[in-house]
Every structure is written in C-alpha cells, then in structure tokens.
Symmetry: C2
Subunit: 453 residues, 2 copies
Amino acid sequence: MIKEYIKENEGRILEELFSLIRIPSVSAQPEKHGKDMLRCAERWKELLLMAGVDKAEIMPTEGNPVVYGEKIVDTAAKTILIYGHYDVMPAEPFDLWKSEPFEPIVRNGHIWARGADDDKGQSFIQAKAFEYVVKNNLLKHNIKFILEGEEEIGSPSLSNFCTKHKELLKSDIILVSDTSMLSADLPSLTTGLRGLAYWQIEVTGPNHDLHSGHFGGAVANPIYELCKMITNSLDADGKITFPGFYNDVEDIPEEERKMVAQIPFNEEKYKQALDVEELFGEKGYSTIERNGFRPSFDVCGIWGGYQGEGSKTVIPSKAYAKISCRLVPHQDHEKIGQLVVDYFQKIAPKSVKVNIQSLHGGQGYVCPIDLPAYKAAERGFEAAFGKRPLAVRRGGSIPIISTFEKILGVKTILMGFGLESNAIHSPNENMPLEIFWKGIEAVINFHAEFDKV
Amino acid sequence: MIKEYIKENEGRILEELFSLIRIPSVSAQPEKHGKDMLRCAERWKELLLMAGVDKAEIMPTEGNPVVYGEKIVDTAAKTILIYGHYDVMPAEPFDLWKSEPFEPIVRNGHIWARGADDDKGQSFIQAKAFEYVVKNNLLKHNIKFILEGEEEIGSPSLSNFCTKHKELLKSDIILVSDTSMLSADLPSLTTGLRGLAYWQIEVTGPNHDLHSGHFGGAVANPIYELCKMITNSLDADGKITFPGFYNDVEDIPEEERKMVAQIPFNEEKYKQALDVEELFGEKGYSTIERNGFRPSFDVCGIWGGYQGEGSKTVIPSKAYAKISCRLVPHQDHEKIGQLVVDYFQKIAPKSVKVNIQSLHGGQGYVCPIDLPAYKAAERGFEAAFGKRPLAVRRGGSIPIISTFEKILGVKTILMGFGLESNAIHSPNENMPLEIFWKGIEAVINFHAEFDKV
C-alpha cells in the first residue's frame, strides 16, 4: 500500500522537492542569497499545508525566519517535533559540478543538486511520510514541524527562538533526518554527533605588499607565519596541541570500542574511494574512532598573496585561514572557541599581527539506545531496509540537537538517510531515488511503531 | 642648458611616457593582455624613432617581441647597449589603488601608475637622455636599444634571442635603469643582484572536497600538509633547510661586511614604514646583509578550500602555493630549481600527492666598481644629485643581466633611479617627478663622462 502510494505520486512528489531545491538558499552568503532565504521559507510553508498540516506560518527570528507547521489530532496524545533545515551550503567551486547545482535533474537513478540530500531531500522524506499517514487517517499522535534557515552557519538564532517559543515547541521526542547511514546495504542510526568550533585567522605582516627581492629575508612573511601556526596545531602523533584542549574529552569506553570494531569497515575501499595511498589521523585510534569518537583539527580554507597565472614575486601584506575543530562530548564549544583564540593571540610572533575570530560552534550529542522512540526508529528502518540498523556515532555536527536538549529538555532521534557517496557539502551532491523512497517508507513505519511503544 | 631643455619639453615628455603606461602590458597574464604586449612594443618603436635612433624595429622571439633601435655615429667608436623592459607586473589587487593603475596621473609631484617606475618610467629616462644628446649633437659613441617584454616572467626568450643576434647586440658596456637607490638624498649604484628561483606546488588529498565532520581526523588535509612542508623549509634560525641549498653560497667577505655597516640604515624607521613591531631573518646577519647578500625563502601566494564569506566545514581536495628563493652568487638557479623539486617530491607524505613545478629563475650578478663605465656612472649621478653614489648590493633580481654576461660577454652598469617608496610590484606604484628629471640629467652626464674615461 505504501509502495503503491509512492508509485502513484512519484512525479508530483519529485516536482515538489525540485521546487524547493531550485531556490538557492545559501545561508553563508547573505549578500548574494538573502532574498532566497525568505522565498524558500515561503515555499516550505505552502508544501507543509499541501502535505496536511492544520496550520503553517513563517515566524521571524533574529536571522532567517523559521517555518512552523502543526497537526494536532488529540491534545492528550504524544507529540513529535520534526526538525529540518531549508538552508544549504555554498555550491562553490561551480566548475566541478556536472550539472547546475540549483537545477535538479535525475540521472542514473539519482537526484543531482545542492540540497538533494542535505537537508532539503532528507527533510522532504519526513514531509511526505507525514502526508501519507494523514491522508490514510493513520496519524494517532500530534506532529509539529520546525524548519530553520541557518543550520549551515551554526544556527545562531534558533536557541533564542526555542527559548521564546518553548510552549509552542513542547513535544515528547524530536525527529531529525539530517545524518547518514553506513551504506545503502547497511542501515544505521546515529546515536552520537560531534560538536564544532570554527575560526577565521588573519595574519598581517608589512602594511603593504612588498617586492620579495628588496625585502625577502628581512621581514617576516605573513603566509609563512600562518603556515607555521597551523602546522604547530598538530603534533607528530596527530594530537591537537592547544593547551587544555583534551581536558573535557571522555576517552572511548572499552565496551564501545568493542562495538565499533564490529562495524564493517574496509580500509582499502575507503582509501580507493578517496584516491589516497595512506590515511592519516590520531595515533592509537581506528579510522571509525577517529572520525566519530575523537576530536579533529582541519584547515577548511587558506588564502593570501598572488594566486593568478604565472609568477609574481611578492611578500604579501596579509594571509588568511579558516580552521575548525570537531568536538566530542563533553567538550564545550564556547570554552574551546575562546581557548584557541587566546592561544593564537599568545603564540603570535611579534613580527606579525594575528587577529583570530571565533565564527560559530555547536555542542556534541549522545542518544541512549534504550529510548522507546529509538526502538520505534529501529523497527521503522527494519521494515523498509530489511535489516536492523546498527547504532553508530558519527563525526558530523548538528549543533541544534544539543540545544534542543538543553532548552526544550527533549531527546532527538536521528533518522538519517544520507550516504557518504551523496557528496554533501561538495560538488555533485546527490540522493539515490531508491533511498529516498525507502526513507519515506521507514518514517511511515516509524509513526506506526511509535504508537505501540 | 639641460634644465632648460627639460622645462621646455616637460609636457611632451610626460605625455609620451603616459602613452606607454596606458597600455597594460602585463606579461604574466597572456590570455588577458597578449595583444597589449604587441601594442606596447609598437609604441616603443615609434618613441625610439622620435627620440633620434636611425632605425628601429620589432623583432620576433619565441615569446613577446623585442624592440630594437640603434644610432651608429662612428663604427670605430665604443657602443653602449641600453636595456629595458616594456612589460609590467600584474596590478592586482585593484581595489587598493587610489587611482587607476593604467591611467597615469600626476598627484603631489609624483606619477602614479603601474610601470611609472618599473620599468617604463626608468627606461624612458634613458630614452629622453639619449634624445637630448642626439638633438644637441653631443653623442660621440654608438647607442643600441633593446627593450624586452618578458622581464617580469623571467625573460624566458631573451637568452635565445641574444645567442641568435649576438652580432647585432655587440657592445662595450650595457646600461640598465631598473634598480633603485638607497633614498632620494642618498644616491647609490647597484653592484650586485640576487638570483631567483620560483615554484608552484599543488597538493592533492582526497579526490573531492569532503565534509569535515564525516572525514575530519581520518584523512590528511592537503592544506595542512602544504603548510607543514612550507613551515619546514626554514629552521628556527631562519636558515633554508633544502639539503645542499647553501653549497655554492659565498659567505660575505669581512671587508664587504665593514662597507655594508657604513650604509646609513635606521631600523626603527624601516620598521615604522612597514608597520611591523619586529623584523625577522637569518640569524647572524644584519637586515641589509639579509636582503642583499644572503639568499631568502618566501611564500608569494597560497590558496585552497573555502575562501568566501562565513564558514564552510570542508576538507578540500587540493591546496596550492607559489614559493620562491632569492639566490646569491654563485648559486645556479637551475640547480636550485631542480634541487627543491626533488626535495619536495621526496618529503611528500604518502597521504597526499605533491606536484611541484619550477616556474622561472635567474642568476645573480656582481659588477666590479673599478670598471671605467662604472666611474662614468658615478660622476653622472654626482652631477645630477650633488653626491657621490654609494656602491651597494641589492636584493632584487634582473635575471637577464647575468645572461648578458654569459652570452654577450659584456658587463652591465645598473644606473637605477627607483626609490623604496615607489612601491613597484605593489598597488600605488609611483615615481617622483623630481627624480625622473634628475635621472635624465644624470644619464646625459654619464654620456659625456663615458667619452672621457
């Protein structure tokens, strides 16, 4: 019956999703895409109403608006709050896309576009599962939707919004589709997320660009000094060197390490897929531990001096980098953010000026696997994918999840349907249609199971 | 008499110079400015004919053409070959210019434009001094002009051109205005130049950009690995670490170190002008030694990952840098070029792929101060500036000077009129008019003195 419904409505559902994707709602580029944020919120409001909510509205925040919708079937029944985000990552570099990032197309059984997975595609799975249970009179609990427009920039306005609308958002459990599974054949549920801290560094040497012949050897080169500070952020064992950084890190319990070791992982295939000869990470941990259970340090961007064709012999005045750390429970992103700012200012050599700014951050999260709603999610997955999903901690961050817990006092179930090959945050983001339809089926089954537990 | 001539012709001379400057002959950007190179060469040909050469022509090379002109007054007399270059550095970053880089204007007694000094302004000093001696029947030796269009990209075609036209370029001494003086009050002649080697490095990590949450900690970050290789290129004492790099470096003779110590140098003013709190360089050497007598290592540009507004949590696939070394006699730029390529390929960690390319280079040069033509230059300067110029080695590179010595067997006198504040290779390049006119006077006097020595 679910499969028939999907078959009958396939074209309409995809066209609805595409209408969302076509709006380039890039939250990191407000000058370029500020108006697209509101357009995208308005489109979501229409789509929620079409899916069956009783009411929907666009609610202001200090930043991009939130789309809220609800269907209350019984004030005495339990309430599920479904969270998603309508903003997307920048699509740059554009020239690496095989088709236009904001013109979705279906090719080889996949939807190709920015947001096809993260998070327009995944949120839409929730909306269409909801539509099915409403239209078939199967809904026995209340549903609230909240879609925000600032997830990719660290959700700066959402915690104030939650505090202000605590009553409106009152719920028993939160449901989110914004994570990924181990593979298409190996469904999994995410039970842990890493936190995030992100900084931009500006290093100023001389007050203007200098001729490297006349000044080379006599003044500090700001790019060099930046490279040196970045290099010294990790030691030879791949450990982060910021003093105090590991103070609140909980080491992996031996029991969990044993569980992690059971997750099928083929290092050769992983390396082949990335086309790297060797992996690199913190000494003493496996790859899955490194990207899920341990904090990490990355340079996300760097620039300075001459980047054009040919050779320009210059000592630039300025150099910049964007660096970030993934954090684990119980590291506090604000504490780490400040710790790194203080540290860089302290180690800055006198030959340059260092300005470091904390850009955004978020806390990590852990979901207990004995939660009844978690069990419902497990069964929902099993019904759609034919296998009981593994419980795994993942390396990504959804800062708002820990904020929900703190402000609303509600736990979140992470029912994500992404795949590593979906290339979120990268050129050629995509979503396999098969997973998209199975996802809808899994969430429909979750709603049925939720009423039983 | 010279001053009167200048006064009468001031407007015409500047307008002629401006007509050259307005042509954006940026050799490093052939796709954008390829046609401007030929236009600039043609304009120089017209201007040489107007200045009084018997004949002038545009001669092909493997790259941008050379402008050649000559006035032969007596085949038995000595011949001076005047060299200059009509190409200029890129003007980026455009937004830091106070007026358009290719629309010269006079403001506060300076000409402001890309090429106002390097080398259109300085070459034009030679052309106008020549015009004066021709028009006043004072020329007793032969003059040949050669203006190339590839100096700023390392003169890749000029050595073949010299080999091919050795007879045409036959001369007793070469005269070049493309260097700078210690200050407007402290005229100096450059007796040494550093060589140059320049590389571009490409570091490839994973085959596509990755989400730093899902992969952070598990794979090598190509920006980080690039920063690390750059950092390790210098040791804690500011010495370059490439094995074998110093093998051919001649240490500064004690006698020359004593001369260098006599050059007035105010470190406080130098730091103030650059707005840096501390200088940085090789341990055991003074600033003037560091930027004139010792080799140096610089990062001229770096880029990779996300460089836009806000934060994008990405592990980029690629990172790039442009690095260069200034070389001293007797370091061979080809040997050093290859040595560094081999070294980087050797130290590349297996977790990334490193591709390094040698972009261009040039040898250093030393001019003996007992050369008769050097004495004539000294007196020419003294007549115009009222002070005997100091002999100094400078840090810049004019690769072709050592090529002239090697192929044509002729020494070069570096009669440069630049000032540090002229900001060559930087935004707001300029030339003080007072120096421009004094330069013409100095070269006219050189021609008279040359016939005496």
